[in-house]
Symmetry: C2
Subunit: 200 residues, 2 copies
DNA sequence: CCCACCCTTCGTACGCCGTACGGAAACACC
DNA sequence: GGTGTTTCCGTACGGCGTACGAAGGGTGGG
C-alpha cells in the first residue's frame, strides 16, 4: 500500500514491489498468484480501514454521515482506490463488513426491506462516484499553480463557446473550491430522500 | 471504440489498433501524441453519445430521468467507460456539453445557484458509481452459470460467518436481479431530495 | 556425520507493451 | 529530371507480467 500510495496503480509493478521488500521478483509468486491478486488484497485492506469504526449512534443520520465522511477521508488517503473500485468487485471480507454496517444502520432506522438495497447502493454509488471525480482531479493536477491554470483554461473554453454551453457559461461556478461543502450538500440530498421513505 | 468494446481498456494496445486500421504502429503517432490521448478521445466520444438528445421536457423530473437512464444505457454499451472515468477528468467538449444540459434543466426547474453544483455533481456521481459497480460485475462474470456460482459463493461466505455480517445475513437479498428497478429507486431518492430544494 | 528430501527463493527468458529515432517512399513543384 | 517536403513505418530500447526450473538452506533418518 505504501508503494501504491506513492506511485499509483500504473506505477505499481511486481518488480518494484519486490525491490521494496528486498526480495527477488519471482518470490512474490509464492504468496500470490498474479499481480491482480495483490490489487484485490489492497482494495480489501482499504475497505478494512473504513469498516473499523463501530459504535452505532442513536441518530441514524449522524451515524451514516460520520461513516460516509470517514469513507471519503480514507479514499483520499489512498487515491488509487477509486481506479481499483471501477475494476474489481467489492466482495472481500472487509468490503462485506463495510456493507454490513450500512445495512445494519438503515435497517435499524426503519427502512423497508425493498428500499434497503436501493439506499445502500445509492450511498455507495455516491461516495465512490464523488470521490472518484475528486481523486481524478487531484492526480491530474500536479501543483496549485497547474490547478489554477487548468481551471482557467476550461473556463476560457466554455466562455469562448458560450453558444455551445449556454447554461454552463451563465450558471456554473468554475472556481468552486469548497469540495467538502459540496460533498455534504449532496449527501444531505440523498439522506433527505431516504428519510422520506422510512416506515411511515 | 470497436476495439475497446471488444477487448476492454487493458486489451487495447497501439499495436492492435494499428493492425485493425491496416497501418503501421508508429503511423498512429502522427495523429496522436500518446496512447493516453486516444483514451481521452474515446471517453469524450462516449460522452458525445450521451449528450445527443436535446428536447427539454416540460417536466424537469421526466427530462432528467430520461437523460440519466440514457446515460446508463450508453455506459452499458461501452463497458470500459467506467474505468476511464476513474482515470481522467471529464473536460472534453462533449463532456462539457453533457454537463451543460444538466445545468440547464435544473436551473430552469428553479434550483438555487448554490444547490445547482451540488445537484449536478450528485447526479453524476450516482450514475457513474452505480454503473461502475454494474459494469465491474458484468465484466467479472463471464456467463450466467458463472454469475450464479459467484453469487452462491458470496452468499455462502456471508452465512458461514453470520457473526461477522449479522445484518447482511439477515436482510440482504443476494439474489437481487432487478438492476433496472434498483437504479430507478436510487434515482428517485435523489430526485426527491432535489425537489425539496426547489425555490420554495 | 552424512545424505536424501522438501520447501523457499529467485535467475533467466519469452512475449507483450509504449514510443524515440531516423530512414524510405510518395508527392509537389520547378 | 531534380529537389524539397510530407507521410509512413521498421527497428530498437527499456519496461512489464510471469512460466520454468535450478540453486540453496533446513530437517529428518541412518
Amino acid at each position: 500500500m505504501e508503494l501504491l500510495d506513492s506511485e499509483g496503480v500504473e506505477g505499481f509493478s511486481m518488480r518494484r514491489l519486490a525491490a521494496r521488500l528486498r526480495a527477488g521478483t519471482m518470490s512474490l509468486y509464492s504468496y500470490v498468484e498474479t499481480r491482480e491478486d495483490v490489487l484485490d488484497l489492497a482494495l480489501d485492506a482499504v475497505m478494512g480501514e473504513i469498516a473499523l469504526e463501530d459504535e452505532d449512534d442513536v441518530d441514524w443520520r449522524a451515524a451514516l454521515t460520520r461513516r460516509i465522511e470517514q469513507s471519503r477521508q480514507v479514499m483520499h488517503r489512498h487515491v488509487w482506490i477509486t481506479t481499483l473500485i471501477g475494476t474489481r468487485p467489492l466482495i472481500g471480507p472487509a468490503s462485506l463488513a463495510r456493507s454490513d454496517r450500512f445495512y445494519a444502520t438503515l435497517a435499524r432506522a426503519g427502512l423497508p426491506p425493498l428500499e434497503l438495497n436501493a439506499a445502500v447502493n445509492t450511498l455507495f454509488a455516491y461516495v465512490h462516484g464523488f470521490v472518484a471525480a475528486e481523486n481524478v482531479w487531484r492526480s491530474t493536477v500536479t501543483d496549485p499553480e497547474h490547478e489554477a491554470e487548468l481551471r482557467r483554461q476550461v473556463r476560457r473554453h466554455v466562455l469562448a463557446h458560450a453558444d455551445r454551453y449556454p447554461a454552463l457559461a451563465r450558471e456554473a461556478d468554475m472556481t468552486d473550491g469548497d469540495a467538502d461543502g459540496g460533498f455534504r450538500r449532496g449527501l444531505d440530498i440523498i439522506l433527505d430522500g431516504i428519510e422520506a421513505r422510512l416506515a411511515a
